[in-house]
Amino acid sequence: MKEQAGVTLDDVRRVAELANLELTAEEEPSMQRDLNAILGHIGQLNELDTVGVPAMAQVGEMLGNAIPQRGEAFRMDQVRPSLDRTEIMSTAPESDGRFFKVPKVIER
């Protein structure tokens, strides 16, 4: 298995923290192994010289679909019916009907 990308266990923990994921002690080494295998495969991209090649975020740009740059409107700013608030709130794990409720934010 290719290991040239060299993701360490510390890297796995750091990235998990960035992603708000909590990995178990068993998950960490298997994720490290998988990330190294996948990144090893992805390393093939370095065979290509991409100097001067524009980056493509989505296909619309290549098809010449202009994206408004100077504040033109995508659509008219009109009031339209929207979803009912109580229905939205009722799908939440915890709500007082007006707001989402969460555990304590300030940790000390």
Binding site: L18, N20, I38, P93
Partner: protein
């Protein structure tokens, strides 16, 4: 009420609608017959995650009343459908195959769901899939794998495995799936049905639980090319609720199917026929190519030189976008919340740890890594540049030919558990499908034979952006050839 059973095998949209319109069968009875079949046979296939019987019956009764009055019926009147569980159906569960959305019932309909129903479709329920549409075998569903109705020891493909299996098992006349890197085309090929990847922007995604927003598309799976075209006709078009949907007028896909394919230029991309392609698939596709020549198509070799870079490019871009899109699942607004957490940040982490399966975690970690400080240029920006090269390959090819013909998958449906231990092997399963996803072009998988063991083989027809009409005409020519 007519109780006479119709043969659900090979029941097409036209036949179902005609049966309802002529009074030979009520929409209510047709829906019941499908529900009976699901009840007796889906226990082993596991394609449906939830049934929306009440809603289906209200709709069927409405259609029956219209038919009884002699009103003109809509294009999908009374036709039973299934919906992949990543699309919102008001009041029905929407799990995306994940525990993290267990219990969530969206209070609105996806635009495609509303369009199907407005066209008369009877929506039977929600279909199993890989968790957040991440997978090529449907083994990543938190609610158990789907089995391939054509061979029960095999996977149905993924991520729209339930959508393909439900059509193949005649649990629904047609279904909706989604395709980010092959998730409609690959299961269609594995299950022996037709599956369309529409051009990026052709079909609204409002109400789709997002995986990778620059790639995700919604499309139909059906028993015939004409059925798939009929569904596409209904769901395509601009939607004010999706800013990425295109203003371009929608072609008349169904009537285009009557035009001959004579003179259509068909490109054979050499990179799609290299080592690793199963010999039986190769020979079936060569047969399809020979058939197109006989029908008057002009076949010529073309090259898509960056093809081998499509998989690494896709797995950077798709995971980077997924890591961002899936940050919304945090236990605050919908679905699961971990019970015991005392602080907000602990609640986020515990909820996501309990709620996400291993493949989803793997992709979130990979995407987060590729976007993190110090690696962004090496991975994400590099992949975006190669995406440009891959797209240019297609644009250059389509200057010389009208459509491309290629395999959908390197192998026929594999066995359950065969590839679950090695993520890279599983990702390589998408080798012939991801390039079209990255380039935003349209593609379709059409059955073109079977292996000696009886496993279905699919062939992929791809066309340039918004040229679904030409693509579907060629697909239908392949289909017609199979029936000869």
């Amino acid at each position: 009420m007519s109780a006479k059973a119709v043969d659900l095998r090979n029941l097409t949209i036209d036949a179902a609608r005609e049966a309802v319109a002529s009074g030979a069968k009520t929409a209510t009875a047709l829906a019941e017959q499908h529900y009976d079949r699901i009840a007796s046979q889906d226990g082993k296939i596991n394609s449906f995650l939830a049934l929306s019987r009440e809603r289906a019956m209200v709709q069927a009764q409405k259609i029956d009343e219209m038919a009884a009055k002699g009103d003109e019926l809509q294009p999908l009147a009374g036709v039973p459908f299934g919906i992949k569980d990543v699309l919102a159906m008001r009041g029905a569960p929407a799990t995306a195959g994940s525990l993290i959305l267990k219990g969530y019932r969206p209070p609105y309909d996806a635009s495609v769901v509303a369009k199907l129903e407005a066209a008369g479709a009877v929506l039977l329920g929600k279909l199993n899939c890989d968790e957040f549409a991440m997978g090529s075998s449907n083994e990543n569903s938190a609610y158990g794998p789907v089995l391939n109705p054509r061979a029960l020891d095999r996977v149905p493909g993924g991520s729209s495995g339930g959508s393909a299996a439900a059509v193949a098992a005649d649990f629904a006349v047609a279904t909706l799936g989604t395709d980010t890197g092959g998730s409609i085309r690959q299961p269609a090929a594995f299950c022996g049905v037709v599956g369309i990847l529409p051009t990026y922007g052709r079909v609204s995604r409002y109400g789709l639980i997002a995986f990778a927003s620059s790639l995700d598309r919604v499309g139909p799976l059906a028993k015939t090319v004409k059925d798939a075209a009929t569904v596409l006709q209904v769901i395509a078009g601009k939607d004010i609720m999706d800013a990425t949907s295109s203003e371009r007028p929608v072609d008349a896909y169904v009537s285009a199917l009557t035009e001959p394919v004579e003179g259509i230029r068909v490109g054979v991309p050499e990179e799609y026929f290299g080592e690793g392609l199963d010999p039986e698939i190769r020979s079936a596709i060569n047969g399809a190519i020979a058939g197109l020549k006989l029908a008057g198509c002009v076949v010529k070799p073309v090259s898509l030189p960056h093809t081998k870079y499509a998989i690494p490019t896709y797995y950077v871009i798709a995971t980077a976008e997924a890591s961002s899109n899936l940050s919304r699942f945090d236990g605050v607004r919908f679905g699961l919340r971990a019970e015991e957490a005392k602080t907000l940040s602990a609640m986020f982490r515990k909820t996501r740890d309990e709620g996400f399966g291993p493949e989803v975690k793997r992709r979130i970690l990979l995407g987060t890594y590729a976007l993190s400080a110090g690696y962004y240029d090496a991975y994400y920006r590099k992949a975006q540049q190669v995406r440009t090269l891959l797209t240019r390959d297609f644009l250059e090819a389509f200057a010389a030919v009208d459509v491309l013909i290629a395999p959908v998958t390197p192998t026929p449906a594999f066995k359950l558990g065969e590839k679950t231990d090695d993520p890279v092997q599983m990702y390589l399963e998408d080798i012939y499908s991801v390039a079209a996803s990255l380039a935003g072009i349209c593609g379709v998988s059409v059955p073109c034979g079977q292996t000696k063991e009886g496993l279905p083989i699919g062939v992929q027809i791809m066309a340039k952006h918004f040229d679904e009409s030409t693509m579907l005409r060629v697909a239908q020519a392949v289909e017609t050839q199979q029936k000869v």
